[in-house]
């Protein structure tokens, strides 16, 4: 009983917003777009499949934001990882391609992380720079050409495959969110991430290795972006420098709407999943509404603005 009530107290307004927003937008589209097939199982599954890479990136970003850092470069990491993986798959077996893709992501994350944690540069500026740097590298890697992925095991595992009739992208989403949530909420590392974002000085004098925490969260972000790159490459059966390019705003919005605060040691991995699904629903609904691309962008921008305003508004100010 006391546990239930303390749970309810813990569920504050900002974290609850995503649940209501999710329901509201779902119901809105379910009614207005019923005839356009929004509610069909095929369309709903599609939303989940399409958001899988963004959800994985969002999980990584929850860790970075919770530690008081940010990563703007994950979109570029997606492209570089996917391309590296696709190139590797042309001459090596599947596991090598996977390791290359993930390894490149983690390595770029470590590069960001060392600059942030040990050279003590602000992550906003570091990743703003590396976002451009790796976007350029992604373009020059294959001279803007896209690289086909013909390895069937790979495209099955990271794209169109199924396990017990559950699509592999759904499984990756569940694994990413499940493991992310477990680490975030139920391990010492997760507690140290939150403490570092909340009060780095307190964390430091409590013996938490704050610099190492910062390095690790940037590596987690990079690794998640790497995995997202594999998921894109698997689903599209090709890698291209444009992968991940347009995910920055969506993913940041998903995480913030999902109840993760910028800079204050508070967040939720499950919330980020809901936020990501919400963004996916929004995309899907706006397309079904037959809006022009420019109008879609405007509406999406406005809705994200509203959502972020509701989640982040500081009522104490």
């Amino acid at each position: 009983m006391t546990r239930v009530s303390s749970r309810l107290q813990g569920l504050d307004f900002q974290q609850a917003v995503v649940y209501f927003g999710f329901l509201a937008i779902f119901l809105f589209f379910a009614v207005t777009l019923y005839d356009d097939g929004f509610l069909t199982q095929r369309n709903l599954t599609n939303i989940v499949l399409q958001t899988a890479p963004a959800t994985i990136m969002a999980v990584g970003l929850v860790f970075a934001l919770s530690a008081g850092e940010i990563d703007l470069s994950f979109g570029s990491i997606v492209a570089v990882s996917a391309l590296s993986c696709a190139v590797a798959l042309q001459s090596f077996p599947m596991p090598v391609g996977v390791l290359v893709g993930l390894g490149v992501g983690v390595a770029i994350g470590a590069f960001n992380g060392v600059l942030v944690a040990y050279l003590k540069l602000p992550s906003f500026l570091v990743t703003l720079a590396t976002m451009g740097l790796f976007a350029g590298i992604a373009r020059s890697m294959t001279n803007l050409r896209s690289v086909p992925v013909m390895n069937d095991t790979f495209t099955g595992l990271f794209g169109s495959g199924k396990l017990f009739s559950v699509p592999s992208l759904v499984i990756w989403t569940c694994l990413g969110v499940g493991i992310g949530h477990l680490i975030y909420r139920h391990t010492r590392f997760g507690a140290h991430v939150l403490a570092t974002g909340d009060n780095p000085r307190a964390a430091q004098v409590s013996g938490i290795k704050v610099a190492r925490v910062r390095l690790y969260v940037m590596m987690i972000c990079g690794g998640c972006a790497g995995l997202a790159g594999l998921l894109y490459a698997g689903r599209l059966q090709a890698a291209k420098y444009t992968l991940g390019e347009s995910d920055l705003m969506t993913v940041i919005a998903a995480v913030i709407v999902g109840g993760t605060a910028l800079n204050s040691g508070k967040g939720s991995v499950v919330g980020a999943l809901l936020g990501s699904l919400l963004m996916g629903m929004l995309n899907n609904g706006l397309i079904l509404m037959n809006l022009k691309v420019s109008d879609q962008m405007i509406v999406r921008g406005l809705i994200i603005l509203i959502a972020v305003a509701v989640s982040l508004r500081d009522t104490s100010r």
Partner: protein, 245 residues
Amino acid sequence: MSDQEVLSLTNIHKAFGGVVAIEDFSLNLKAGEVVALVGDNGAGKSTLIKIISGVYTPTSGEILLDGEAADIRDASAARANGIEVVYQDLALADQQPVYMNMFLGRELTKGPLNLLDKARMRQETQDLVDELDVRIPSASSTISDLSGGQRQGIAIARATHWASKLVLLDEPTAALGVAETARVEALIEQLKAKDLAILIISHSLDQVFRLSDRICVLRRGKQIGVRDTKSTDKNEIVSMITGVA
């Protein structure tokens, strides 16, 4: 009070760039002894505490714990040596619950996956705050929802829970009301009875005279002198602090 010297500082010197914060400070502290550190704002009191707790490294000088060269190169090493601190600018993580703060950096885990044992941390925290009579809604309350006095109570409870040798308190009652101050003072008496060595910074001379065995005066980084509390009075201490005879 035993004769074992828990802490011994010899010729400690600390400069921040060109600013000399502590010059030539020496002090010994025995188990079960309370020493008060007094001096005006900016005298160097907090700096001294941070040197002992491993946050700052002294520019020169020697620190011994139990008569041996101590490894306090950082805060966790100091904690491993049984030194706990209540900082002036409370070292609490505001968005986290009380029990996570109580166990910050020393979280309890269980099972083969080493998952956090939140239930046990919550329970132990509840027992501790009950025992010490720190009045908070619950061990799961978020720090930012608590009053200044309640936060101070948590910081002190945390220090008393983990200290095995030395407790450093930097103005522990500066933000507290009369009743809360009395409770903290009672707590300090308990620590003393447990044979811990205590170094307390306070601007309240009444409090200093109530609690301490000895009083050490700092003025602009210089150690002016150490007096037995029983054989001095407020006038002498005030003139030592201000430098006006």
